[in-house]
Symmetry: C3
Subunit: 139 residues, 3 copies
């Protein structure tokens, strides 16, 4: 069994945002030389997500609005986590809806994807550098 590890760094200048990171994950798979196995892609921060969905700006707009309805940022005083001096309790909730990680099959050296699957980094407390871990195991 072979394994390969790579960190991807992102800096989103706004509080919230989505970036398509599929090309970076594909690069890591090529670098690994692994042809058959699984790749784990996870946010290393607890106010961010990695998820798979559509690369369509209208949908990302809908996600942002919907997550704000389910877990609003304001008023920040509604959350006990923010009593610690933080203002990002909502980001910890949004991340649970969208998920921490994805596991994707690697087949014939490629992401084994359906026609519209793309991997996104979802940021809910940005304006600083944050990391995603890519770990690939297989042969």
């Amino acid at each position: 069994m072979k394994s390969y590890r790579k960190e991807l760094w992102f800096h989103i200048p706004t509080r919230r945002g989505f970036i398509n990171i599929t090309p970076e994950v594909e690069s890591a798979i090529r670098e690994s030389g692994i042809k058959e196995g699984m790749v784990l892609v996870n946010a290393m921060h607890i106010t961010a997500s990695v998820f798979i969905n559509d690369d369509e700006s209208g949908l990302h707009n809908d996600y942002d609005k919907w997550l704000e309805e389910l877990a609003p940022h304001e008023p920040v005083g509604q959350y006990r986590h923010n009593d610690t001096g933080e203002d990002n309790a909502d980001a910890h909730m949004k991340r649970q809806i969208m998920g921490r990680e994805v596991v994707v099959a690697v087949t014939d050296g490629q992401l084994d994807f359906g026609p519209w699957e793309q991997i996104f980094y979802g940021e809910f407390d940005g304006r600083r550098r944050k990391r995603v871990l890519v770990k690939i195991i297989g042969e």
Copy 2:
């Protein structure tokens, strides 16, 4: 390390529905000959889910009603994704709540499950053929 890949195809005649796919995943594990490892089961479409829960029709009814409350289908014009000509923005949200994939331990050639765990395909934009990927790695 061995690996095995199989696609499962489904056609749900309604917009939404749940199917127990545990027997199909068990068959794939037997076909793989893998005794110890992990199995990834994921929707290959971004308006569908694979999840693990109870095979109880009342609960599935509750899930359907609850997901409609959290991300209603109507009015379709409330979602910017639907400006593209689609009417399935809600399905992209329901799928995030229920999840894209499950990873299950394979132990002694079996799904290593607790007493009530069953694997479901959750469809949120059906009435067409769609796929689930099963990828097994191990020995």
Copy 3:
């Protein structure tokens, strides 16, 4: 490829609660002798979660309140699942929001974590003994 399996047992005396299980998962990794690979940690029950987030009591309080808003326990008669004699339909929903499982990279014999990542068992229908499965594969 090596694999290792361990069950962790918990008894939460209240209906709902969160426990940091990171030390138990770290012990399992040490016992496995696996240096590079992946660890799967999943609830074996369908009214409980395993998730990764912050070990901060204010946040756990926020999660509990938020999950009750999204999927209230009362009135129990609002759920068809509870017609079976159960009163835990809400727990099956809360578990979908928080997730069944996490997959974490194992690197150099350790959980490959960002600075604040910790693994939690989330109980939504406690007051009885329940299990978490740890499965590690790698080399």
